[in-house]
Amino acid sequence: MSGGDDFLTTYETPRLARLAPNLFAACFSLMKILPARFMLERAQAAGRLQPGGPVAETTSGTFGLALAMLAAVRGFDLTLVSAASLLDETLRRRLEHLGAKVHVIDDPEGSGAQSERLNRLKEILEDCPETFWPQQYDNPDNRLAYGRLAEWMTRTIGRVDCLVGCVGSGGSLCGTGSFLREVFPDLTIIAVDTHRSVLFGHAPGRRLLRGLGNSIMPLNLRHEMVDEIHWVGAFPAFASALRLHHDHALFMGPTSGAAALVAAWYARRYPDALIGVIMPDEGHRYQHTIYDDRWLAVLEGWPIVVPHEPDTLTQVEARGESEWTRLFWDRKALRTMLEAERGA
């Protein structure tokens, strides 16, 4: 809608997939274009970013790809800092073909090198102080960007009773949710995370499912908006993505699989509720992983039978990659939840 100066804005409009009579999926090619463009435009409007100016970010995922696509079209000078274990060769090449400078930090133990990446980014910012750092985890413009998704939902679905989405930065779920709650105060918000992500109180650890969860706490996650938290392991997420492809010809990434699993369960449970689910990216990046039977075959514990429903927990608790659990969060602050557990 905005400006029409480049076709990338069409990436911001999801396709509708009606997965059940009461379940509406917003399927994005690359959702992160939406916050990336919004943050860049707001920074330009505020004078924090000049046309053609330098932009730097630490990322290993789709946000980096979105920034690189925008930088290519709009002529920004983009530097991305990532970790060797998180950045596959295909994506690195694609980022470089788009003209981004990619700094890859070695992390032989597969830690993700979060602090080293931040240190490198800080060096870049010190060397070139006019560099704009989007900071998707903490920049409130990330959440604001999702007024467009909430608009799409009200235009397409009308009334929304329940919103289901994955959480990484918190931007899409808390942004979309806050705009929808202004008109539908009773909206149920269900967050989808994965085991050993710190977002809802797990101790950090190795995660096989990427693209959701986090090892640091982003300010854009507003725990007090969340009614229910689901932790979906990598295997149910993979299986759900494969099933979306098989049953609906929807070729989406594993985080979309995780979100669809939870949303479809809620839709069965509450047939009178209208549910919107956010599906953030397509399957192309995962051709050589979850869409490759040989890659899957060597995973310990695969294949699994997808659970029909989650295990309902009574406290925050991490499980294995084949498990799907949930906890009533009841719009609490994270600290309130964890203190209550410690007291109990």
């Binding site: 029409g4 007024g147 202004e182």
Partner: protein, 327 residues
């Protein structure tokens, strides 16, 4: 909707001279134009236009029961005189219309008859202006496009509203006279219990400072715009009620109406769809689904409760209803 521009053949002047406006040859007739009032807005804020820029815009709630009727009596060359004399914007609107149609130096008398209360947000001034434009067009024997009527109205009085579009729901840039979005349908069927709140004294709308919306509000308006589109498409009064209530709440941050929350509570207690306001006036309206069983009775109870609670100007009206309400 009341939009019947009637024309009456004007008797030839005794002198036999034609009413020649100069550039344009041709007779002007007596022309009558009408325009309805509104009851504030269902939605008002800032919205992205096709140009990617933000525009102030609104969705009007029409009030067909009140109207302005303007008659133009041509009288040679010279100025357009107005009765009552203080309605200068209406005279200006008529002159702009003649100019637009290629007439110049048109003289005549413009009489305004209106039962729209002034200064509370019923759009009395705009109704006069649009009726005057229609009267002038009728005098020239033409019917104008609605978009032209709106542009002339904005030119005559700086800001206008979308009543020229009658029963069609549009998102209207009221300071530019442009349509930002045509929602492609009529208003969902509504029964409205309207009343006035707070200030007894009328407001001069154009003297109010313009609301400065923050980023959160600007993005929220997108969502309300999307929901309006769905509500019109599905003819869903419940959803249009949600839009109106949310817009009214944002308005509270800019031109707060006293006792607003009390009114919202009353609306909820009576099973209403929502509450709308005149964003630059003193009006509130409780919106009911006009097709719902028992709605007339519930609205009557609410109207009485509002009266007992000291609210003024209580008026019940319908929007896009066939005529009878389900009892």
């Amino acid at each position: 909707m009341v939009q019947n521009e009637s024309t009456a053949r004007y008797d030839q002047p005794k002198s036999g001279k034609t009413l020649n406006g100069g550039r344009k040859e041709g007779l002007l007739q007596v022309g009558v134009g009408r325009a309805i009032a509104h009851h504030g807005e269902l939605l008002q804020g800032v919205f992205e236009g096709e140009d990617g820029r933000l525009h102030r815009g609104l969705v009007t709630l029409p009030l067909a029961a009140r109207k302005s009727t303007v008659t133009f009596w041509p009288n040679g060359e010279g100025a357009i005189r107005c009765r009552p004399a203080n309605r200068k914007k209406a005279a200006r609107a008529a002159a702009l219309t003649f100019n637009h149609l290629g007439y110049s130096k048109v003289g005549g008398d413009l009489t305004l008859e209106s039962d729209i209360p002034v200064g509370h947000g019923y759009g009395s001034s705009t109704a006069d202006v649009i009726a005057a434009i229609r009267a002038a067009a009728a005098a020239a024997g033409v019917i104008l496009r609605r978009s032209t009527v709106c542009k002339l109205a904005v030119e005559a009085e700086e800001a206008s509203d979308a009543i020229a579009y009658g029963d069609q729901v549009v998102l209207f840039a009221h300071r530019e006279g442009l349509i930002l979005e045509h929602f492609g349908g009529e208003y969902p069927p509504l029964l409205v219990v309207g009343f006035r709140i707070g200030r007894a004294r009328p407001i001069a709308t154009l003297r109010l400072p313009r609301a400065r919306y923050d980023g959160q509000e600007i993005e929220q308006f997108r969502v309300l715009r999307g929901l309006t589109s769905h509500a019109v498409r599905q003819q869903d009064p419940r959803l249009i009620g949600r839009v109106a209530t949310a817009s009214a709440r944002i308005s509270q941050h800019h031109l707060a109406k006293p006792r607003f929350e009390a009114a919202v509570k009353l609306a909820e207690e009576h099973g209403a769809c929502g509450i709308q306001v005149a964003h630059s006036g003193t009006l509130l309206g409780v919106l009911f689904d006009a097709d719902e069983r028992g709605v007339a009775a519930r609205a009557a109870v609410l109207a009485e409760t509002l009266g007992q609670a000291g609210f003024l100007g209580i008026m019940t009206f319908t929007v896009n209803v066939d005529g009878t309400l389900l009892q």
